[in-house]
């Protein structure tokens, strides 16, 4: 599976976002957790998932690489 990332800005405290596309379309919105989240700050949160990822709403990843792998495994 080839994933394409497009940086985006969210109108929220956690404002650093990424739109994640597969060949089929938008599969996820990831956000980088801001300083608001103390120990979790800097980690990536699956803010929204679509299709196969619709059920996985609570996932947090230590870095972008593990988020990408996780998404690819589930939609591949």
């Amino acid at each position: 599976v080839t994933l394409q990332m497009q940086p985006t800005r969210l109108a929220a405290d956690d404002s650093d976002g990424l739109l994640v596309f597969s060949d089929a379309g938008l599969v996820a919105v990831l956000v980088r957790l801001s300083g608001l989240h103390e120990q979790a700050a800097g980690q990536w949160f699956l803010e929204a998932g679509f299709g196969e990822l619709d059920r996985h709403k609570h996932a947090i990843f230590p870095d972008l690489h593990s988020a990408q792998n996780w998404i690819a495994e589930r939609i591949g």
Partner: protein, 267 residues
């Protein structure tokens, strides 16, 4: 004001502690205090409850007291600490179904429903008084009015579940958490365990998430929002309600379902 009236009614059974909270002389005072927050007990009935045989036991944080599938032969009266009832789904997700404060007997239903359909665990280090079913059964047979009052307690318990269904199904994230805080505050206040508008709150964000169907990220965002709006301060396992009216409005909180005898309120 509420503490004073309960003290007067309880006579020498409870003493005012140095931090302003009541210090029961027997763990069963907790149960009396709880029942008296939602109903009246005669002196005779109170003495009957206080005569129940108990075994006290200390539990660590996050320790099971009763597990799903167990067939308990005793009920657990919480004396100190916090408990939750929960269910674990096959995929490992935990749903916390209720939180319990001292005076609650969360597994009272096991007296009549033999197999536990959920678990009961500690949220923080806790002390429980375990009461044999036989003793409670004898009490209810000898004192049918006490049976009525325990029944009333389980009906209030059911009302709290109905409110939680509404909370998890219909309120938005900050309101869900605000509602939980309003409920715990009033339940603790009713048994004399608040200090002004402040109370022990050892429940973690992860546990709040499991209770409200929210991710820890959404729990944290919601708590920050309640903080930023000047409604609450949450630090070091203690919650202070800064604006009770505002918190109730945010939560769309109506305490009717708690059936508290004294209409409690924050300052």
């Amino acid at each position: 004001v509420i503490c004073g009236s309960i003290l007067a009614r309880s006579g020498s059974l409870a003493l005012e502690g140095k931090d302003g909270a009541l210090v029961p002389t027997s763990p069963l005072d907790r149960l009396v205090r709880k029942l008296e927050s939602i109903t009246e007990l005669t002196e005779h009935e109170r003495q009957a409850v206080l005569s129940l045989p108990i075994t006290t036991k200390d539990f660590r944080s996050d320790e099971d007291i009763v597990r799903e599938g167990d067939r308990p032969w005793q009920c657990c009266l919480l004396v100190e600490g916090f408990l939750c009832r929960y269910k674990i789904l096959p995929d490992g997700q935990r749903q916390i179904q209720s939180f319990h404060v001292p005076g609650d007997v969360p597994d009272l239903q096991s007296l009549h429903i033999p197999v536990m359909d959920h678990g009961l665990a500690t949220v923080s280090p806790s002390k429980a008084a375990l009461i044999p079913h036989d003793a409670i059964r004898d009490l209810t047979h000898a004192h049918p009015n006490v049976a009525d009052k325990l029944w009333r307690d389980t009906l209030v318990d059911a009302a709290i579940f109905r409110e939680w269904i509404t909370n998890v199904g219909s309120r938005e994230a900050p309101a869900r958490i605000a509602h939980l805080l309003c409920e715990i505050f009033l339940k603790l206040q009713a048994v004399g365990l608040t200090k002004g508008n402040s109370f022990d709150f050892p429940i973690t964000q992860s546990e709040i998430g499991d209770a409200t169907g929210l991710s820890t990220v959404h729990v944290n965002r919601s708590i920050q929002k309640l903080r930023a709006e000047g409604l609450i301060v949450l630090e070091k396992a203690r919650c202070t309600i800064e604006d009770w009216k505002g918190l109730k409005e945010t939560a769309m909180f109506d305490p009717t379902y708690l059936s508290l005898k004294v209409e409690a309120d924050a300052a």
